[in-house]
């Protein structure tokens, strides 16, 4: 039978199968962080259970760490959560990238960076953006805390086989159009639940031509389209990214793995439950205007007008009221007071390079508060070696330590009520960046441009005729 890559990986991981039951699936790698793990450790202790494979578990501190004066955590409950993780890792023998570690960073940034994430794996984490790791040809999905505990105790999960969705993006992207715009466009076109119950395979020329970091941006937001997981089959781009990383196989062993990884592609003619084809050239730089990631328009477009469908209109009106916008308003007239470049969607080195290229030699618009939060300590070091930090600081950006930061504002980095934030993160839900905060999701280059102008500008006009090649630094 012809199989998709999704089925190939799934079938390799079945520990036990029985009719009328989900499959018992083996989990190769389990990432954990401070927010969704404490109750799971507590569960183990209460029942006197062992953690089956500490060697397949990796921990980091990211969600509520401060990004300035990082050792000075004023919030006592946050501090308790971090020290709980530290103690739990010690007690159960888990490797932890804590605040002192050169490897610390957002879990979905450091996993790939350290070469922990590898093609063909099943990967879970108590975090919905675990889908990011799908960029390497893995089945990677977010789980709840009870499931975290289940993986601790058994290294498995009972999972019903999801449906498969092939999302092909053909042709070429226009100038100034990035991976972030691709995924925002897909979600705005097909809705925030088009992927529910599915794993997505992203394919087509546009995806093939993307770097690993760009593929991660796309896979990251699979969950915003309702899909627990999204993946890209591995290729030379994947292998060369992985070669030489800290936890990648070494020497001949690496080549052996590559041979196996090459088999991880969908067979010609494999069947999918759903198929979508998009022409890459129809995509523009995108800006979200509403309160879910599907509410987004091209930068040269408008906030939508009154909808015929009563329910759709009700959510439109609610969203506009929250966002303080009016029907039909041009996107480029939305004022911007805050800019956040960071999060597991767009805080990697290529993202920072793109933002720096826009910012270089210019100044942040008066009254705009702009900050850059690198995804990891390693990204931060590289950026500093390249002098990007100076470009940002000279322009008037704040240059911070790594963490989730204003993506969800669990630490002190929050956007005040009523203010608009151009953000490279993945969620624009009500209150996500702070109570009453108004989030607009954009690419790093678009966020940087908004910082310079105090409103959204079309990055294509800013660049004139300059092309994608230069955009990539």
């Amino acid at each position: 039978m012809k199989k998709s890559i999704i089925e190939k990986i799934w079938d390799r991981h079945i520990v036990y199968q029985e009719e009328n039951k989900p499959d018992l699936l083996y989990i190769d790698l389990h990432y954990i962080h401070e927010v969704t793990s404490p109750q799971a450790f507590e569960g183990l202790r209460l029942k006197g259970r062992k953690l089956r494979r500490p060697d397949k578990t990796f921990a980091t501190m990211d969600h509520n760490v401060p990004t300035i004066e990082r050792y000075f955590i004023k919030d006592e409950i946050a501090r308790k959560q971090l020290s709980a993780l530290e103690q739990n890792c010690k007690e159960f023998g888990i490797t932890l990238a804590d605040l002192d570690s050169p490897d610390q960073g957002i879990v979905h940034v450091i996993g790939p960076e350290l070469g922990l994430t590898k093609p063909g794996m099943t990967i879970v984490c108590g975090d919905s953006h675990t889908s990011t790791h799908g960029a390497f040809g893995t089945i990677a999905f977010g789980i709840g805390t009870s499931e975290v505990e289940h993986v601790f105790a058994t290294q498995t999960l009972w999972q019903t086989k999801p449906k498969t969705l092939k999302l092909e993006i053909t042709g070429k992207l226009g100038n100034g159009v990035t991976a972030k715009d691709v995924i925002l466009y897909v979600i705005s076109k097909y809705g925030v639940n088009f992927g529910t119950g599915h794993i997505i395979e992203y394919c087509g020329d546009v995806i093939r031509n993307m770097s690993m970091e760009e593929r991660m941006t796309v896979c990251n937001m699979s969950i915003e389209g309702g899909a627990r997981a999204g993946l890209v089959s591995p290729d030379e781009t994947t292998f060369s990214y992985l070669k030489g990383r800290k936890h990648s196989p070494k020497g001949e062993e690496f080549e052996k793995y590559v041979q196996d990884w090459k088999s991880l592609a969908s067979d010609e003619g494999a069947m999918f439950d759903t198929e979508i084809v998009i022409d890459g050239s129809e995509i523009s730089p995108m800006v979200s205007w509403g309160t879910n990631p599907g509410m987004a328009s091209p930068v040269d477009g408008h906030v939508p007008n009154h909808k015929e469908d009563k329910e759709a209109d009700k959510s439109l009106q609610r969203a506009l009221e929250y966002m303080g916008l009016s029907e039909g308003m041009p996107i480029t007239e939305i004022p911007v007071q805050h800019v956040f470049i960071g999060s597991c969607t767009n805080s990697r080195i290529e993202d920072l390079r793109q933002a720096a290229e826009v910012v270089k030699g210019k100044k942040v618009y008066e009254g705009v508060k702009a900050m850059i939060v690198p995804g990891s300590q390693s990204v931060k070091r590289t950026a500093e070696e390249e002098g990007l930090d100076k470009i940002f600081i000279e322009a008037g950006f704040e240059w911070r330590e790594s963490g989730c930061s204003a993506c969800l504002g669990m630490n002190p980095d929050i956007v005040p009520a009523g203010e608009h934030c151009a953000s490279t993160s993945n969620r624009n839900f009500e209150g996500r960046q702070g109570s009453g905060a108004r989030t607009h999701l954009v690419s790093p280059a678009m966020a940087a441009a908004a910082a310079l102008h105090g409103k959204f500008v079309d990055i294509r006009e800013l660049r004139g005729s300059r092309g994608q090649a230069e955009l990539a630094y």
Binding site: R12, V15, Y16, N20, K21, P22, L24, Y26, L29, V35, P38, Q39, E42, R49, R52, K56, T57, F58, H63, N64, I77, A78, K80, L116, K118, M121, G126, S128, F141, G142, G144, T145, S146, E147, E149, H150, T154, Q155, T156, W158, T160, P162, V192, N193, T196, G197, G226, R228, H247, N292, E311, S315, L408, G409, M410, R427, F429, E430, G431, S435
Partner: protein, 199 residues
């Protein structure tokens, strides 16, 4: 976990689609390391204004919705983050059952693990129940064994649930204890596949 089989009670309605887990339990309450006590923070930013007063116009603050054990909402309920604090807070507040046209995958799983029942009905059926729930004395009965939802005004509808979860909920079983019985199969898998080395 306490078993669920039949439940009868009042329903509260929040007629909105795409209610995300950031609304159900805002992030400022995720720092606790306990599993309990999240009910008071449920829908916090919708329930309370910045001074901490109840917002009169929010559904759960209206007198007819107090004391309800069933929540009825719009499609794609529970989308967004994987935080299990969402079902914990719903349950702690008093909702063991949520009815909606559809649910986000992770949220749905998280409910099952906590002995909560997410019930997906057709859009029109949810609409009918929402309208009926506004009437005085309206009560809904959920029967998990026969997989039916009915009310005291003549409504009935069937719902789907995976037999695995149905059995788990009816018996109130702890999933980990069950899986640990497959220890031999897991050992065999590890010996056979020697899965990709990691850390």
């Amino acid at each position: 976990m306490k078993p669920i089989s039949v439940y009868t009670g009042k329903a509260a309605v929040i007629d909105r689609a795409n209610i995300d887990t950031d609304q159900i339990i805002p992030k400022q309450f995720l720092k606790r390391i306990e599993r309990t006590g999240f009910g008071e923070f449920l829908f916090f930013d919708w329930r309370f204004d910045s001074e901490g007063n109840e917002r009169k116009d929010f559904e759960l603050n209206q007198p007819q919705n107090k004391g309800a054990g069933i929540l009825i909402a719009g499609e794609n309920f529970g989308c967004g983050s994987s935080r299990e604090h969402a079902p914990w807070s719903l349950q702690d507040y008093g909702f063991d059952i949520v009815i909606a046209p559809s649910f986000a995958d992770i949220f749905q799983n998280n409910c099952f693990k906590n002995g909560m029942l997410p019930i997906a009905l057709k859009k029109e059926e949810v609409r009918n129940l929402m309208d009926a729930a506004e009437q005085e004395g309206h009560e809904i009965t959920i029967d998990l064994k026969s997989q039916t939802v009915s009310d005291n005004k003549g409504f009935t509808a069937k719902f789907d649930i995976h037999p695995y979860w149905k059995e788990m909920l009816l018996n109130g079983w702890d999933e980990i204890s069950i899986t640990l019985k497959y220890g031999k199969q897991i050992d065999e898998y590890e010996n056979r596949e020697s899965p990709v080395s990691t850390i």
